[in-house]
């Protein structure tokens, strides 16, 4: 097995745990990486206290992009939006357990980009409504 493609990544790619859509949801956001066609959408349900109660992702792309989305979405259930906003590149790489060059880093970080854009979007919406 190649170091880069640890068993976990291939397994998550082939058998994602968190793949699907939430309807209804409190939040849904989608983005893509036009360079390689990776696409990720993340749906969340968030309770009154701002804690993620349910999460799912959908999308297509390489093993790294899809496995990182699966791991990320699983990791945020039960966590507050404040925690989610604090997630970093290192957290993603830690979950994947690999090092990546600059091109593949974009694949790995697409789901984090989608999640953060969505979460900041929710907060902007809430502050507008407040």
């Amino acid at each position: 097995m190649d170091d880069l493609y640890r068993e976990q990544i291939i397994d998550r790619y082939k058998n994602p745990r968190m793949k699907g859509a939430l309807d209804p949801h409190d939040f849904s956001y989608e983005d893509d990486n036009p360079l390689c066609g990776d696409r990720i959408r993340i749906d969340l349900r968030v309770d009154q206290a701002g804690v993620v109660t349910q999460a799912a992702f959908s999308g297509t792309g390489c093993a790294i992009s899809q496995a990182s989305a699966d791991l990320l979405v699983e990791s945020i259930i039960g966590r507050s939006l404040t925690d989610v906003k604090a997630l970093s590149k290192e957290d993603i790489l830690g979950m994947l357990g690999i090092e990546l060059g600059p091109v593949r880093l974009k694949c790995a970080l697409l789901s984090l980009k989608v999640l953060k854009a969505g979460v900041y979007g929710i907060e902007a919406l809430e502050s507008e409504l407040a």
């Binding site: 097995m1 190649d2 493609y5 036009p34 360079l35 390689c36 066609g37 390489c62 790294i64 593949r104």
Partner: protein, 415 residues
């Protein structure tokens, strides 16, 4: 040449010995297999040496100096211009403009000839399989000037639909600009025929020869091309220098490109008189060492013979397609080997091109994954990205076997 067995057209081991990079390992015990020459080729010792020699012995700025080094530098730079002209069958060194690369050459034509000659509503014909370098400069001009763009269709086998081309020619185009060889599909286009038809329709023709000039004999006089562009770095030369060939009379009639030193005859505070072509298109200190490196690359290629390179390319691509077709779930794009240069783009069911390329890389095999700067043709084939293996004079049949072994490993991982 034709009397030689194809396997013997090039002494590949002798050729490989000229490329120091080919002996390196990408990780301990894993020797490099470089299958990404359509992106950029590797460089032979003679080219590296020519650049190094210039800096060690003759470095000076060109054209203006009267000292010994300046004269040597000017002679070497202008000598390279002469080599380029001879290599592509141009009538005179004056028809060769040095640019940064093929991309800049196309931008130069769009920004000078295009801005001076094209008006709102004028038609420029491109094809669906162009590299972004031959799309975006025209899209920019369309946004600025309101010129119209139309695209020759590409059929499912990756060939240009010449019937759609003939129909477009009926609309009185001003310019036809197309690739001589697709960097994605490998398709070699019938350039001479297309140019003749365009001329009968009253259009000028620009040929994007970035992939063709490195791989087979190209003669601008036989082709009757008005403009032809290519980059040094894909033909064993250095990065940073490219070529615009312009037909005699045409370059002279065009306004200058960038302003600055060397492109002028006389400057006053209230105006300037541009230099003669090709100098009026070469503002500022050019890539002198790189142009000299290109001259050395041409000498290297001519020493081997472009016919021999073409035959070697043909043999590699035919073998590659035969071997790749054995792999279940692999789909390749483009015409049959006989109509292609040394490029094979493919997809593998269940594995994204990035994953394919990364797993191949772990075995020392360098291929490209992505859209290869040609998003529209990928869209046409319904793919965001493909994996591309491209071949050049230093590649061997054994390396293709290693590629195929590597792809089986990818399949095993993703099965």
């Amino acid at each position: 040449m034709s009397a030689l067995h194809p396997l013997r057209v090039l002494d590949v081991e002798a050729v490989r010995a000229e490329f120091p990079i080919l002996t390196r390992e990408t990780q301990p015990g894993v020797r490099l297999i470089y299958l990404d020459s359509a992106a950029t080729s590797q460089k032979p010792l003679s080219v590296i040496q020519a650049i190094s020699d210039f800096y060690q012995h003759s470095n000076a700025n060109i054209h203006r100096g009267v000292h010994r080094l300046a004269e040597e530098a000017t002679a070497a730079y202008e000598g390279a211009r002469g080599s380029v002209a001879h290599f592509i069958g141009a009538p005179s060194p004056a028809s060769i403009v040095f640019t940064r690369n093929a991309t800049e050459s196309i931008n130069l034509v769009a920004q000078t000839w295009g801005r001076a000659r094209l008006m709102a509503g004028d038609l420029v014909i491109l094809t669906e399989m162009e590299h972004h370098a031959n799309l975006v400069p025209w899209l920019m001009l369309a946004a600025e000037r309101g010129i119209r763009l139309a695209f020759v269709k590409v059929d499912s086998a990756g060939r240009l639909d010449l019937e759609s081309y003939r129909k477009l020619l009926e609309q009185a185009p001003r310019l036809v600009s197309f690739t001589h060889m697709s960097n994605v599909l490998g398709t070699i286009t019938p350039a001479a025929e297309m140019i003749a038809q365009a001329h009968r329709a009253g259009a000028l023709v620009l040929v994007d020869a970035a992939q063709s000039v490195p791989h087979f004999p190209v003669n601008v006089t036989d082709l009757q091309a008005d403009f032809l562009v290519f980059s040094a770095h894909k033909m064993c030369g250095p990065t940073g220098v490219g070529v615009l060939y312009g037909r005699t009379g045409l370059l002279e009639s065009m306004p200058p490109y960038q302003g600055g030193g060397d492109m002028i005859k006389r400057v006053r505070l209230d105006g300037f008189v541009p230099n003669d072509s090709p100098y009026k298109f070469e503002a500022g200190t050019p890539a002198i060492a790189e142009a000299i490196g290109l001259g050395a690359a041409i000498e290297f290629l001519e020493g081997l013979g472009m016919q021999a390179l073409q035959q070697h390319d043909q043999e590699l691509v035919a073998y590659a397609m035969e071997r790749l077709e054995e792999i279940p779930g692999l789909h390749h794009f483009g015409p049959p080997a006989a109509e292609k240069g040394g490029v094979v783009s493919f997809s593998l069911d269940g594995a994204h091109p990035h994953d394919v390329a990364q797993i191949l890389d772990s075995q020392g095999i360098a291929v490209r994954a992505g859209h290869h700067c040609a998003m529209p043709i990928h869209e046409k084939f319904g793919l965001p990205a493909t994996t591309r293996a491209s071949f050049y004079l230093y590649n061997t049949l054994e390396e293709i076997d290693r590629l195929v072994d590597g792809l089986y490993k990818v399949k095993q991982l993703f099965a």
